[in-house]
């Protein structure tokens, strides 16, 4: 009896442990993306819309018959910004043969860097993750595909310079969330302040930034020429509200890519007219890819979410990033039509993207094995009370300072990380 118990026990344990993992090699022409993102914790302000854009664009591509017969399969799940869950999702994706992962979370992206470099799976870290990942030589499989925070700060400073002619003797206030993310632009700003002779005053606020009532009176008293506020989610809406309450000149307030129509609504759409933001891609429903999605995906009722969200800033970010990825897939198929579909295969394709502008929706993006940022172009837009209106064309600026910083950290990474 006892021995039998043991044997059955062992057998059962062995069986359970070998639960079948479905490896989708059956239909050959499938390219798998994993999109475990944070729908429930810190990144709630962006994920729903971003993911909707991603899924709609993938539906669009698949509805048109895929790319050269390949269809895209995106596995969207929630990692709640929790590392064990994210790592589980990553390992699962790897087992299932995914060639790309888009975690849309800085902590998760940081934790996955050693793994993706080892496993040769492409990780998209659009508007998140390490800024120094723009250096493809140190991070061959980490793909920001978007202007990083250093570039965004550099663009804003250049925009101020364009407006004022010269920043010498001006005062720029940098109000930021007191986390690594919020402090990231500081070295660039300090360097630029030294170069261009403006005075930089920084105001850190405690995360998540739902109480900034003691910060903004100080900002107002500092009488800045320009203000940059750097946060995300609730920190941004609170910053806007408090700025309005303090009677700041809203047309001299600016922020990174992390501000959207819904933030403006919360702060009072009319009150915040004039606020500037960095736009990595065109917003609204006019760009051709969005029109295509409306006609071919949303119209037949296959949209991934509420229709009114189509064309919002974060939705368009999702479309933008997916469009770049799909372009990478196209290039990869051009180079090696028969695959095999692996991480390095897609990596090759992504590295071959040249001047891709998604029918004018995004600035011309060129990804090379050295530059994963894609050129670092974006434009500055202002809020006109209803929508964001572009003030400039897509441009790039201060890239020398940015790249100096990128190299500094990526060199360090190369030295210590293996």
């Amino acid at each position: 009896m006892e021995r039998r118990t043991f044997l059955t026990g062992t057998a059962a344990a062995a069986l359970v442990s070998q639960m079948p993992i479905t490896i989708a090699r059956a239909q050959d022409k499938v390219i798998k993306f994993a999109m475990p993102q944070d729908f429930t914790k810190v990144y709630t302000f962006v994920t729903a819309e971003y993911s909707q854009g991603q899924r709609d664009y993938i539906s669009l591509i698949n509805a048109r018959g895929g790319i050269n017969g390949y269809t895209i399969e995106a596995d969207v799940s929630d990692h709640g910004n929790d590392l064990p869950r994210a790592i589980e999702a990553y390992e699962r994706a790897k087992t299932e043969g995914a060639v790309l992962i888009d975690p849309l979370s800085t902590p998760v992206a940081r934790a996955l860097v050693p793994r993706v470099l080892e496993d040769e799976i492409n990780m998209v870290t659009a508007f998140s993750g390490r800024s120094d990942a723009a250096d493809g030589t140190a991070f061959p499989y980490v793909m920001p595909l978007s202007p990083n925070y250093w570039t965004q700060a550099g663009l804003l400073i250049d925009y101020f310079r364009q407006k004022d002619g010269d920043l010498n003797g001006k005062k720029i206030c940098f109000v930021h969330i007191d986390t690594p993310f919020g402090k990231e632009p500081l070295p660039i700003l300090e360097k630029l302040a030294e170069q261009q002779g403006f005075e930089l005053v920084t105001f850190p606020y405690t995360p998540p930034g739902n109480d900034q009532s003691a910060i903004w009176p100080q900002v107002r008293r500092a009488r800045p020429d320009w203000v940059m506020f750097w946060g995300a989610g609730v920190g941004q809406t609170t910053a806007l509200t408090e700025a309005v309450r303090n009677g700041m000149d809203m047309s001299r307030m600016s922020s990174s890519v992390w501000i959207s129509e819904s933030d403006m609504e919360v702060a009072g759409a009319q009150d915040v007219t004039g606020v500037l933001k960095v736009e990595p891609c065109a917003s609204g429903r006019d760009p051709k890819p969005i029109q295509d999605i409306l006609a071919e995906v949303v119209e037949p009722g296959n949209g991934a979410g509420p229709e009114e969200k189509v064309g919002t800033s974060y939705y368009n970010y999702g479309v933008m990033i997916t469009a770049i990825i799909i372009e990478g897939v196209r290039k990869a198929i051009e180079k090696a039509p028969d695959g095999p579909v692996t991480g390095p295969w897609l990596n090759d394709g992504l590295h071959s993207i040249r001047d891709f502008d998604a029918d004018g929706m995004i600035p011309p993006v060129t990804i090379t094995p050295e530059d994963h940022q894609g050129g670092g172009m974006a434009r500055i837009a202002h809020w006109d009370g209803e929508k964001f209106v572009a003030d400039t064309d897509f441009f790039t600026a201060n890239q020398d300072v940015v790249w100096e910083e990128i190299r500094k950290y990526s060199e360090e990474f190369k030295k210590t990380g293996e």
Binding site: A214, Q218, R221, V234, T237
Partner: protein, 295 residues
């Protein structure tokens, strides 16, 4: 540092502190009657914010009608929470009860954004955002009104404890068995405390929601409220009032004076240091009753 800025920060700090104290008062109310530290108080504030938003945006009621309805609904929700969750935990170790309220908070943080959407919601209570200047002195209209409302509500709560029902509640908090024996319905008293505390949380949720928008992060009000409740003494409502002002002032001034020196946001650390110092120097808080333990 010029005096005007200092004055601005101080006034601002006092009123913001009062707004935090409103959440803390809810914690104290529950602790006073039932001896339970409710760590779901922040989640209740979030729930209240969502409720007010739902009645304006989804049902389409005007805000002056939506807020009273939200208060009533939240009163019932508080009573229900006590009846179906907390009452079953009577007699369990304190850590179990703490964990239960934490579990409730996790659940509420899933339920509300799940049902109403996780995007930040706009809640307009009709307080104009235009700045208010007294000479050169800037005043924040929203915090002024919010702080005053909190102040009045806490005063009302103090007055309430001197009414007949309030005296019953005090009896309950003194000795539950003795209250039973003289015919007080202890369960009802505790349930009412929960309902009232949920209403206070709702008011706080609405006031804060008007500034930051309504989403899950309203539940983060908890930490600050705990610091205030501990400093004031967990069973003292007047203590909450004083402690709220102290914490608000300390934080506001720390942001103005310490931040530039340290080069980081010291706000939360000030709250933490206040907790630690209080516990080390005067564990029962400024106005709390000293707990006498029988062996």
């Amino acid at each position: 540092m010029d005096m005007l800025l200092l004055a601005e920060l101080s006034i601002n700090g006092v009123f913001v502190g009062l707004m935090y104290a409103l959440v803390a008062a809810g914690i104290v109310l529950i602790y006073k009657t039932s001896g339970i530290a409710n760590l779901a108080q922040g989640a209740l504030a979030m729930m209240g914010g969502y409720a007010a938003w739902a009645f304006t945006a989804m049902v389409g009621l005007p805000i002056w009608l939506a807020i009273p309805i939200a208060l009533a609904v939240m009163f019932l929700a508080g009573v229900a929470l006590e009846r179906f969750a907390l009452r079953r935990m009577v007699g369990q170790p304190i850590i179990m009860v703490i964990m239960l309220t934490l579990g409730l908070e996790i659940m509420l943080r899933g339920v509300l954004p799940g049902l109403f959407g996780s995007a930040v919601k706009r809640l307009d209570v009709g307080i104009p955002n235009t700045p208010l200047f007294l000479g050169d002195l800037f005043l924040n209209r929203a915090t002024l009104i919010g702080g005053s409302v909190s102040f009045v509500l806490i005063l009302l709560a103090i007055a309430f404890f001197n009414s007949r029902l309030g005296i019953i509640m005090r009896a309950v908090s003194d000795d539950q068995s003795a209250s039973w024996s003289v015919g007080i319905r202890v369960e009802r008293a505790i349930a009412i405390a929960w309902g009232l505390s949920a209403m206070m949380a709702t008011t706080a949720g609405v006031l804060w929601g008007a500034t930051q928008g309504v989403d899950w992060s309203l539940s983060l009000l908890l930490i600050k409220a705990l610091a205030i409740a501990i400093l004031g003494g967990l069973d003292s409502l007047p203590g909450v009032l004083i402690a709220g002002i102290i914490v608000g002032l300390a934080e506001s001034l720390a942001t103005g004076i310490l931040d530039p020196i340290v080069g980081g946001g010291t706000r939360d650390v000030v709250a933490s240091v206040i907790i630690v110092l209080t516990l080390l120097l005067r564990p029962h808080g400024l106005f709390g009753r000293e707990h006498i333990e029988r062996v």
